[in-house]
Amino acid sequence: MAYSELVKDYGRIRGYMRQFIAYGFRSRSEFGAKSARSYDNEKRRVESWLGESMSFRRDKDGKAVFLSVDSRRIPRNPLHKSWKAASFTRNDIALHFILLDILADGQPRTLAGLLESIDKEYLAAFENAEPIDISTLRKKLKEYVDIGLVAAVKQGKQYQYSLPIDAVHLAGWQNAIAFFSEENPLGVVGSFLLDKYETQRSDMFTFKHRYLLFALDTGVLLDLLTAIHAQRQVELEMAGSRNGDARRVATIPLRIFSSTQGGRQYLSAFNPLRKEIAFIRLDSIIQVKTLEHVPDYEACQKRLEEALPHIWGVSAGRYKLQHIEMLLSVDPKDRHIVGRLEREKRCGTVESLGGNRWRFSAEVYDARELLPWLRTFIGRIVSLSCSDKAVENQFWADFAALEAMYEEAMHGEAMYRGDGDVV
């Protein structure tokens, strides 16, 4: 099949883009594409869409393509462009412009009336143009009614088609759309709206701590949010089993947990078999299939609400509460550290113990989740205690490993050789 810049299925390109953007060191041979040509085509497409944002490097493993941008310095997410690369047929593009043009005069028309206009007023301009089939036109009208581009009113036995009356005037929205197209979780839709403005204003917003990659998961996110609103169960097609085969999981979607610091988004869902809350990374979900309505949906949501005050990040562990406590020594000149504790404490508590001593404590289901955050206070930690001693031991083992790494840095390379724990 000849190469095309456009694709029919977004899922096909999503995995490639993630590899280019998040990792950027994998070369052609490591992509596991069905053929070298598949890799070449996907790479060419992504380069065509993202243009100057892409870089490449050649090393002993071959040429590695990557997107290396400081998301703070680009006002608009270049990945939104990938959502504007859907393929189409000749009839799709012809009918799009012709139908909207015919109906632009405000006069409603029947299917037969539209077909006649298309033939006489539009196709007649082209020699040997094949006429549009009535069933093709009917199908296109139904599609456009469904997405809101055309309104249909039944009069007698037939439908009258017209353009919908648009009550929304976009003129006053440009700044808001420019901001939310980058900041709203479904910002891609805002990017479609920005395309409608004839005059593009110079970009006045920039975004720090912005994860461009979230844009790739917008389709999955929209499907999940739709299912959440309809209180329906879903079947998720998941990537990532060790043999590369997709697997399927039936679950009840509840809320989206989004990390503003880790570049990850999770679905929190109630597993109807295990009767517990699970967290599933959005980037591991290939497809969402909506299933039946869940009659006791509120009860599932209540389970999550009850657990929330004890969930630090995205784990409910074994639903057994663990107590964790950190004592800090904070010099009066370093009061910003207390400010950090206060704004970053989440479900924890911060107390002054008098003098320079401050205590952070929390009751959580999975204290192991706090380890990376606790490390950021290295230099001021007087004591750390946890009802799960393994967490405490891990923290100090990591500290000792860090010390060893930097002590030996002057004499040779010491690198961490850790165990296989997932933190």
Partner: protein
């Protein structure tokens, strides 16, 4: 449906070409400009042959189109519902848009559908009347390219008063805060909107007065050991930054990360977050800062033992 041709760059490009054709001023040479502006870098290979070759039935080789009116696409239900979704976001109040037009629509989601679990708790006060006033003044100054007089309290609580040429408004999702970045070359400043006590939009500035801020860039290089899923975590965590990763032997990688010099402490904290999975190997002063923290910690531990 989200991935649909009605939102596509090709449809946008064709609409723009038809718009130009209807003015009677379209020439072949204009196609490249319009298509490059609206579509992708290789679209010139596809759009012109299909469009003016008559295949798409909306234009012929003499650049004539049977389309009679400038192409206009109504808003889709998805687009309207997205706008409705924004009305539930407290930050929309900052922009002063007319919400009455969206009555009767269902939002795509509700704010409570999301948990931003690691967002800082001291975000800007979006419902505060004075804050909204300051935000709108800053937005006006940016839109209309006008100077702005701002009084604000700096991090040491000192009142600063100055006249600035606004450059960009920066938002951080992690901090949940807006900061105004001002022009002025090396004298450029960041002003937290929450810290503004008063501001007034002044006269328009000349283009020559817009000196983009001069940023000092730093780079840190670290070795990554892929234990405990560190590769995946580190790559995603730092995917907001410009970085380059090279695979070394076994489960080891070398990462070069670029950042603004003024954010060094933040980057230091982000590196320490990963503990012994990351080892900074350059520059020396960054290594020294990591070592200082470790030494401080060792001193506290030794003191505790003595006590």
């Amino acid at each position: 449906m989200l991935f649909s041709e009605v939102y596509s760059a090709y449809f946008n490009a064709v609409a723009a070409v038809i718009t130009e054709a209807l003015t009677g001023n379209l020439a072949i040479k204009d196609l490249g400009r319009i298509i490059n502006d609206k579509a992708f870098s290789e679209s010139m290979l596809t759009i012109p042959p299909a469009l003016i070759g008559g295949e798409w039935l909306v234009m012929d080789k003499s650049l004539q189109t049977p389309i009679k009116r400038k192409p206009q696409m109504p808003l889709t239900i998805l687009q309207k519902r997205w706008l409705k979704t924004l009305t539930q976001d407290p930050r929309l109040a900052l922009f002063g848009v007319d919400l009455s037009e969206l009555e009767g629509l269902e939002p795509l989601f509700k704010p409570e559908d999301f948990v931003f679990f690691d967002r800082y708790a001291d975000g800007d006060p979006y419902t505060d009347t004075a804050y909204i006033g300051h935000f709108r003044a800053v937005l006006t100054a940016l839109n209309e390219k006008r100077r702005i007089q701002i009084a604000y309290r700096n991090r040491y609580n000192r009142l600063i008063n100055g006249i600035y040429v606004p450059y960009r408004l920066e938002y951080s999702s992690k901090d949940d805060k807006f900061r105004l970045e001002t022009a002025g070359g090396k004298h450029a400043a960041y002003i937290n909107l929450q810290r503004i006590t008063s501001c007034e939009v002044l006269e328009a500035y000349a283009e020559s007065d817009l000196l983009p801020p001069k940023r000092r860039e730093s780079v840190v290089t670290f070795l990554l050991t892929d234990e405990r899923n560190a590769l995946n975590r580190v790559m995603l965590h730092f995917s907001d930054c410009r970085k380059e990763t090279i695979r070394l032997e076994g489960n080891r990688y070398q990462v070069r990360l670029w950042f603004e010099a003024q954010d060094e402490t933040e980057i230091l904290i982000r590196v320490i977050f990963f503990g012994p999975m990351l080892k900074v190997i350059a520059p020396d002063d960054f290594i020294t800062k990591v070592k200082n923290r470790l030494a401080m910690q060792r001193a506290i531990m030794d003191q505790a033992e003595e006590d």
